[in-house]
């Protein structure tokens, strides 16, 4: 069995972008703040389109914002 997860650095990137608020990021990428909260907590994996929009908002390549992890267990 393997457990898959997508991790993100959105909290850190917001901090280094003049402490951008979740609402500001949400407005930039066209979603609600609730969605940014869910992504940041790792509760929701965004669509590819939204992931790219978030990366563009931070002016970073996608892999610096999101990373894919596969943990083997059992």
């Amino acid at each position: 069995m393997s457990k898959e997860s997508i991790k993100n650095n959105i909290r850190t990137l917001r901090f280094f972008n003049n402490e951008m608020t979740q609402q500001q990021l949400a407005d930039k990428v066209g979603v609600t703040r609730q969605t940014i909260v869910a992504i940041e907590k790792g509760n929701y994996s965004p669509s590819l389109e939204l992931a790219f929009k978030i990366a563009i908002a931070f002016n970073k390549p996608l892999e610096e914002v999101f990373s894919y992890h596969q943990e083997k267990s059992g």
């Binding site: 066209g30 979603v31 609600t32 969605t35 909260v37 869910a38 509760n43 929701y44 669509s47």
Partner: protein, 148 residues
Amino acid sequence: MSFQEKRSIVSLFSNLLISILYLIYILKYHSTTNPLNNNDLAFWGGLILLLVPVKVFGKVVIHIIFLIINKIVTNEDEPNFSDELDKLIELKSLKIAFIIFMSGFVLSMAAIVVGYTASTMFVLLISSLILSEVAGDLSQIYFYRKGF
């Protein structure tokens, strides 16, 4: 708590409140016999037909009251669009509600087949209708809280 979570909780309570009050009113004042022994199909058909507009009207009124109170208390506006997460959660909760309603529908048909009365079938149908809406709202609250 986010606006979406609050909206789902309000929807849950308005669903329960309107359904319970409506059923109490109809069964108490418009049913001449014990509802479980009432096999008048026109009565049950009318009950379900009227339930839909009553629910729509009641939910709209309660939603407007919620928006006003929420605006006064938190100064928060309703999001004027639904994004991909909202649409996914809506789809998932709709699927859960549909499965529950269809299970109730099949159960009510089975009740008729094994010899129960028409009133039993309608009680099962109305119960599954209300249960499916409650399950839909509960699942929305769960998905907004826990994610998926």
